[in-house]
């Protein structure tokens, strides 16, 4: 075993994996910092709007706001509507400046009136385009600064903006503010190097463990950043609430809790009356949900509680990126080892095979496995609560479920009839295959099979309604007693062709020499059919029967087009698949019945799975036949 061949690429793979993981961590920290800044900016904007009084009544026209004189020719804020004057400018200036002196505040803040900065007059102004964009987009993130619009007291017109730049905070608990991810990354690379250069059999387990450790350490760092983001917002907002309590102009001596609550958007948190408690952020279980909480003293012995969803609860979703990037290393090393051991042609074949497989695999993942998992989630979560079988109970308790089940089974009874007819048709067509009569017969049987089910359904609806084909004038489809039979007749007509096609293929696979030999052996037409044709077709008969039953259990289109499960109110032709569709609100996204429908779908799935078992066995037998 020559370790040198793959040692360097292996270490390179480990370094790439470690770097990628660190980059993901960095990206996560950045995104949490941005979230914090955005929230803070929005809260600050709400605070400013709350604490700044309206302009004094009838002001002279020259009281138009002007940007500070030291700024060289800023664009004039001419586009502002009259409503922009709904803040008293000197008061706004005061309140904005006051933000700078807030103790323990962890961000730099800037308030723009129009395009002009108020807090730090030397800061670069905004452009009118910026404002317009903010007005339509709601918020912006630019060069580490969160920008949100400052609106007038009615919340309609944009009068300025609030910018928040979060001050850098230590990223990890280790000395120097270091996170766990970095040392873990060093360790993983080290382990990879030892394995690669020490010319001994690969210790896969060791490196995989190191990679998993790296992923775990990275997750801890991401979680810390998430938690930090929530905590900082709680702390800074707490300071704002304390300030607001004393500054809200209309409040007088005692500020209303509802006034304070208006500062925090409902999507970010709530403010409720509270008890005396620690002013540091805590995590509490409230009504079964975990919340991040901080107590705020807003006056003499008056407390409110600021609550928010803890961001770290959603942090594990970063594992979707962290795990693959951390495992890049071991996977890369395994690939290198495999490539080293494998001859080039086989390597190329494998690469090509995967190249061809990947699109199908991705398709399968997105359109089959993904939705199935999602349906499983829906089925097991009634009302978004914890894991529950409530949806299944709802399904089982619904009498229409059992009705649909019975109807589906009854409907499936058409399959044996259609198989028998298809077999006879196939024998006729096969016997006359060289003549035009045989071909015509084949086309006649096959044409419904290649037609749209919807078109067939509508055609038969016409036949039933007009009472053609000697069916009489009573419409079979709309009479509760016959509607299921009417559907079975249509299905038989539509499916016989396809089943005949399978039998024709089966007949063609029987060598002519068997029939020649049987004729010479003295077997007439009837014994030849019973003793040669039928036994040799048996796997095909079973196959057609089972696949027919499976697709019958999934009948949907005809019912959906023709009866909608009716005639109501007896649900005379309701079947399982259509019931699923109806329960799910006829395909409405986010419908209330989605969970119940998913539960029903899983039960039908189980039913079909039981039928699939013989089909799998049969396929094997057909292949060997």
């Amino acid at each position: 075993m020559n370790a040198k061949g793959w040692a360097v690429p292996a270490v390179a793979a480990a370094i790439v994996a470690a770097t990628a993981t660190l980059l993901v961590v960095n990206r996560a920290q950045y995104s949490y910092r941005r979230d914090f800044a955005m929230r803070m900016a929005r809260t600050t904007a709400a605070y400013i709007a709350a604490v700044t009084p309206p302009p004094p009544p009838p002001a002279p026209p020259r009281a138009r706001p002007r940007p500070p004189a030291r700024v060289s020719t800023p664009p004039p804020p001419t586009q502002l509507s009259p409503a922009a004057r709904s803040f008293h400018l000197p008061a706004l200036l005061t309140q904005a400046r006051a933000l700078k002196t807030l103790p323990g505040w962890t961000s730099e803040v800037e308030v723009y009136y129009g395009t002009a900065p108020l807090v730090d007059a030397t800061a670069p102004p905004l452009t009118p385009d910026d404002l317009q964009e903010l007005d339509s987009a709601g918020s912006r993130w630019r060069k580490g600064v969160a920008l949100v619009p400052l609106r007038d007291r009615d919340g309609r017109e944009i009068v300025g903006a609030v910018a928040v730049r979060p001050l850098a905070a230590p990223r990890g608990p280790l000395p120097g503010g270091l996170g766990f991810a970095f040392p873990a990354a060093l360790l993983a690379v080290g382990v990879a190097a030892v394995i690669a250069f020490r010319e001994r059999p690969l210790r896969r387990g060791g490196y995989i463990a190191a990679a998993l450790l790296l992923a775990a350490a990275a997750l801890v760092d991401v979680r810390t950043a998430a938690r930090d983001s929530t905590d900082r917002w709680l702390k800074d907002t707490r300071r704002l609430l304390v300030e607001a309590a004393s500054r809200i102009p209309s409040a007088g001596v005692r500020v209303n809790v509802s006034d304070l609550a208006a500062l925090v958007q409902s999507s970010e948190g709530v403010v409720v009356a509270g008890e005396p408690a620690e002013s540091a952020p805590r995590r509490l279980e409230i009504d079964g949900t975990r919340r991040a909480v901080v107590a705020v003293l807003i006056g003499a012995n008056r407390w409110v509680e600021l609550r928010s969803a803890p961001a770290e609860r959603a942090a594990p979703r970063w594992l979707v990126l962290l795990l693959p990037s951390a495992l890049l290393g071991p996977v890369g090393i395994l690939l290198l080892r495999w490539a080293e051991r494998t001859p080039v042609p086989r390597r190329r074949e494998t690469a090509i095979a995967w190249g061809f497989l990947t699109p199908a695999a991705v398709h399968l993942l997105i359109f089959t496995i993904g939705p199935t998992v999602f349906a499983g989630y829906l089925a097991l979560h009634a009302d978004q609560a914890a894991l529950t079988l409530a949806n299944f109970r709802t399904v089982l308790d619904d009498p229409v479920t059992w009705l649909s089940f019975r109807h589906t089974l009854a409907y499936a009874l058409y399959v044996p009839f259609s198989v028998a007819i298809a077999l006879i048709a196939a024998l006729l067509v096969h016997a006359h295959r060289a003549r035009w009569s045989g071909r015509l017969l084949g086309v006649a049987f096959l044409s419904p099979y290649v037609s749209s089910v919807v078109a067939i359904g509508l055609l038969w609806q016409l036949i039933y309604q007009t009472g053609s084909l000697g069916l009489g004038r009573s419409d079979w489809l709309s009479s509760p007693a016959t509607t299921l039979i009417a559907l079975m007749v249509i299905s038989l007509w539509a499916h016989v062709g396809g089943q005949m096609l399978v039998f024709l293929a089966g007949l063609q696979r029987i060598p002519q020499s068997y029939f020649d030999a049987a004729r010479l052996d003295g077997a007439g037409a009837w014994p030849r059919f019973w003793r040669i044709t039928l036994p040799l077709l048996r796997p095909f008969i079973w196959f057609v029967l089972v696949t027919g039953l499976i697709s019958a259990c999934q009948i949907f289109t005809l019912v959906s087009v023709l009866t909608q499960g009716g005639p109501l109110p007896a649900y005379s032709s309701e079947v399982l698949s259509h019931r699923i569709y109806q329960t799910a609100g006829n395909g409405t996204v986010g419908a209330a019945g989605a969970g119940v429908a998913a539960a029903l779908a899983f039960m039908v799935f189980a039913l079909v799975l039981i039928l699939r078992w013989p089909q799998v066995k049969l396929l094997a037998r057909v292949r060997h036949a």
């Binding site: 020649d516 030999a517 049987a518 004729r519 010479l520 077997a523 040799l536 048996r538």
Partner: protein, 354 residues
Amino acid sequence: MASVTVRRLSKVFDSGVQALHHLDLEVRDGELLVLLGPSGSGKTTVLRCIAGLEEPTSGDVVIGDRLVTQLSATERDVAMVFQTPALYPHLTVRENIAFPLEVRHVGPAQVARRVLDAATRLGLKDVLDRMPEQLSEGERQRVALGRAIVRGPQAFLLDEPLSRLDAKLRIELRGELLALHRALGATMIYVTHDQTEAMTIGQRIAILHEGRLRQVGTPEDVYQHPADVHVARFVGTPGMNVLHGRGRADEKGRVIEAGSLVIPVELSTYEGELQLGVRPESVGLCAVDQGVGNVDVLVVEPLGSETLVHLNAGGQPLVARLPGFADVRVGTRVGVKVDRRRLYLFDAAGAPLA
């Protein structure tokens, strides 16, 4: 057992191909007749017409004293063994052999006795309960034979039954088939394109070429006295050399010139082209200019007991069969001798000259 007679049998397929031209053939009761011919000569069509699997365009088939032309295959009471064994794959060996008896409603006790008898004859007793897919190729063909003999039909039709077997197995089964024929005294028509097989097993050989019967005779007959140039070429390994030439009679002598060879021959007339046949074993080599002409050596095939030497005689191919290992070099020029008592003369169309 019965004789099989074919009278003025013609077959034109739907595609317009005429496979058989007014064929007359009589197979005697208890005889093993080999139908020999190259692929596409119509041998299998003859067999299928006799069996009733193919409807002749004109002509009659008589089995024993029954005219069976209008009867279906089921009613003709002949058995056929195909090139592929055509065993029913869903039945055991026992059930396969019993099949012809069961469809004729023979009683179970008798079925069991006769199946066992046939299986014993063919050495199939140990595999009676296996499925066809579990058998070797040779065993399968034996089972097909068993299915044929079990009901004692009027005649056996064998359509290249050994062609799919390997050489060793083919020789082994050929011997068994001959023994079976002797033991049963059965009328058998055996189709093959392998003339060695035809020579070794046939009591009489019927040679077909392009849908016409060229010659019927004992193996020695068709070898020594071929009826025409096609038979001459086809029978023998390798077949007879046929050289195109013309006669010349002048002061130097009365000869046939064919390629680079000049062979003294007495002829009734020396006019026009003719074909000169000489078997490879009648060709010998000698020093240059010592024989009837000089030739170039193209290929030497040492076979151990003999050596085949392929020669170029002035643009015409010639094969010599020499005993043992012959000391001949490829690319050299040598002289040729021929045994003048063993020359065959045909006219330009291929018919023998008296």
